[in-house]
Amino acid sequence: MSSIAFFGAIESGLMFGLVALGVYISFRVLEFPDLTVDGSLPLGAAVASTLIVHGWNPYLATLIAMFAGAAAGFVTAWLNVRLKILNLLASILTMIALYSVNLRVMGRPNQALLNTDTIFTSLDGLQLPYYFSSLLVYALVAIGVMLLLNWFLGSQVGLAMRATGANARMARAQGINTDRMILLGMAISNSLVALAGALFAQSQGGADVSMGLGVIVVGLAAVILGEAIMPTRIIWMATIACLLGSILYRLVVAVALNASFIGLQAQDLKLITAVLVAVAMTLPTMRSKFALRKMGGKA
C-alpha cells in the first residue's frame, strides 16, 4: 500500500470516527437504534458547502452544519418520545425526509467546492504536504470531540443520559427526565455525524445527496470493531475504541482493495461492510452457544 493510500485510510478512519462517536451515543449510551445518520451526514455536507459557496466563513458554516444535524436528531427523538413512534421507524422517517431536505438545501443533487476557502485551506500557510494537512485537521477535530465527549459523559447530565439508556425506569425514579435525555443525546449524536459530513465535503471538494448511503453501517462497524479489539467498560476507553475501530476498519478495507489477488473491487465495499457487521454481531452469541455446548458435552 502506498503512503498516500495509507494516510488516506487513516484520514477517512478519523472522519468515520466522528460518525462512530455519534453512533456510540445513540446505539450504546441511549440504546436507540438510529438510522438518521444516513441523512444527517449529507445534511452536514450540504449545509456547509452551500454556505461556503455563498461566501460564509468555513468555520461558521461547519458550526451551522452541526446545528442542522442536531435538529435532525432532535426530530427523530421527538417522533419517538412525543409521538410514540417506534425508535427505529422514527429514524427511518427522518432519514427519508432528509433526502428531500438535502436536495432543497443545495438546490440540486450536488454542490461542488472548488477554489473556495475551507477549514482545510486555512492550513495552507503551514506548507504541509496536502495529504498530511487534511489528516492533521481530522485528527485534531476527532481527538478534540472525543475529549469533550469524555468530559460530558462523566458529568451529572452525561451520567443521567447513560442511566437513561441503561435502565430508564430507575433513571425516572431518580428524577431524570428520560425523554429530555433522549432528545439531547440524539441531537448531540447527529451533530457529530453532520460535523463529519461538513468536513468530508470540504476535504473531498463537495457534497452529494447520495453520499450518506450506508454510513450507519460503517459507523456501527467501527463501534463493533473497536469493542472487539479492546475493553470498553470505562467511558474514555469506549470513545478511544470508536476512533481506533474506525481507523482499523478503513485500513482493513484499504488493504483488501489493494490486494488485487483477492479480486475485490471498490464497488464491493458496501457488501463487505455489511458482511463484516453481520459476522461481528453474531460472534458473541455464536461464542456463548459454542461454550454452552462444550459444557453440556462434559456434564
Binding site: 451529572q156 447530565v157 451520567l159 443521567a160 447513560r162 441503561a166 431518580q174 428524577g175
Partner: protein, 264 residues
C-alpha cells in the same frame, strides 16, 4: 403527610381484559409512620405504589404529599419527594454502571443536574462512609460494576441510595421477595434500622403476612382495589397471622386462598 383519596385506576378500560385495579382507595399516612401493605395477587398493591410514584396517573381521585396535590406529576417530577426500592434487584440500579456512578445518580435525586463531575471526590468519600456502615466491604468496591454484585448486596445499596437525599415517603416494593431467606432477613433488618433512624415515612408492600406484622407501626390489607383492614397501635400488638386471616374472613365473608400470602 401522605393522602390518597378516592383513587380509581382501571387498566384497559372498555376491553375484554378490563381490570379495575383500584376502586376508590383511601389511605392517609401521617409523617414518620411505617406502614406495611399486604394483599393477594390483584389486590391493587402494585397499582398503589404506581400512583404514589407517578408511574400510573389515576383518572379519578387525588394524591397529596404535604398538602401539595401531586396527582398528575410525572415520576421524575416527584422524585424529589418519593424514594423507591424495587422488588427486582436489577430494576433499582444500572448494572452497566459502577457502584459510585449508581450512588451519584441517587445523590442528585431532587436536585438539578449540571455539567459538573458526577462522581466528585467529596461524594466518593461520603459514599464509602455510608457503605461501610453496611459491613459488607462494599466501600472498597466503589469502582466495581453493579452487575458484579449479588441481589442482596444490590438491594442493600439501593436502600442506602434511597436515603442519600431527603424524601417525603419511602416506597418499598416487596424488596426482599427476590432474595434467599437469610439475605431477605438481613435486608429487612437493615430496612428497619434505616427507617427508624431517619424517622422515614414508609410504605412497604409485602407478600408475607408475617413480615407485615413483624415490622412497622401499622398494617393495611388491600382487597379488590380497596383498603379492607387497617390495624395499628394496641389493636396490632400481639396480632398473629391467624388473627389477621380471621379478621379478613369476617370483613369479606370469604376465605383467603392465596397460599403464598399465608405461608411465606
Amino acid at each position: 403527610m401522605i393522602a390518597v383519596e378516592d383513587v380509581h385506576v382501571t387498566f384497559n378500560p372498555g376491553t375484554a381484559i378490563e381490570t379495575r385495579a383500584l376502586q376508590g382507595l383511601d389511605l392517609h399516612i401521617p409523617a414518620g409512620q411505617f406502614v406495611t401493605v399486604i394483599g393477594s395477587n390483584g389486590a391493587g398493591k402494585s397499582t398503589l405504589l404506581g400512583v404514589l410514584s407517578g408511574e400510573t396517573i389515576p383518572p379519578k381521585g387525588k394524591i397529596a404529599i404535604d398538602e401539595t396535590d401531586v396527582t398528575t406529576w410525572s415520576t421524575p417530577k416527584r422524585a424529589g419527594l418519593v424514594a423507591r426500592v424495587f422488588q427486582d434487584p436489577m430494576a433499582g440500579t444500572c448494572e452497566a454502571l459502577t457502584i459510585e456512578e449508581n450512588m451519584a445518580l441517587a445523590a442528585a435525586r431532587g436536585h438539578t443536574r449540571g455539567l459538573s463531575r458526577a462522581v466528585a471526590h467529596n461524594l466518593r468519600d461520603m459514599f464509602a462512609e455510608r457503605l461501610s456502615s453496611l459491613g459488607l466491604g462494599l466501600d472498597k468496591r466503589l469502582k466495581d460494576r453493579m452487575g458484579l454484585l449479588s441481589g442482596g448486596q444490590r438491594q442493600a445499596i439501593t436502600l442506602v441510595m434511597a436515603t442519600l437525599n431527603p424524601m417525603k415517603i419511602l416506597l418499598l416494593d416487596e424488596h426482599t421477595a427476590a432474595l434467599d431467606p437469610k439475605t431477605a432477613a438481613f435486608v429487612m433488618e437493615l430496612t428497619d434500622t434505616i427507617v427508624r433512624k431517619g424517622c422515614l415515612t414508609t410504605l412497604m408492600v409485602t407478600h408475607s403476612m408475617r413480615q407485615a406484622l413483624d415490622y412497622g407501626d401499622r398494617t393495611v390489607m388491600l382487597h379488590g382495589g380497596k383498603v379492607v383492614l387497617d390495624v395499628s397501635g394496641s389493636d396490632r400488638q400481639g396480632l398473629t397471622v391467624e388473627d389477621l386471616m380471621h379478621m379478613f374472613t369476617k370483613v369479606r365473608g370469604e376465605v383467603i386462598d392465596d397460599d403464598k400470602l399465608i405461608l411465606s
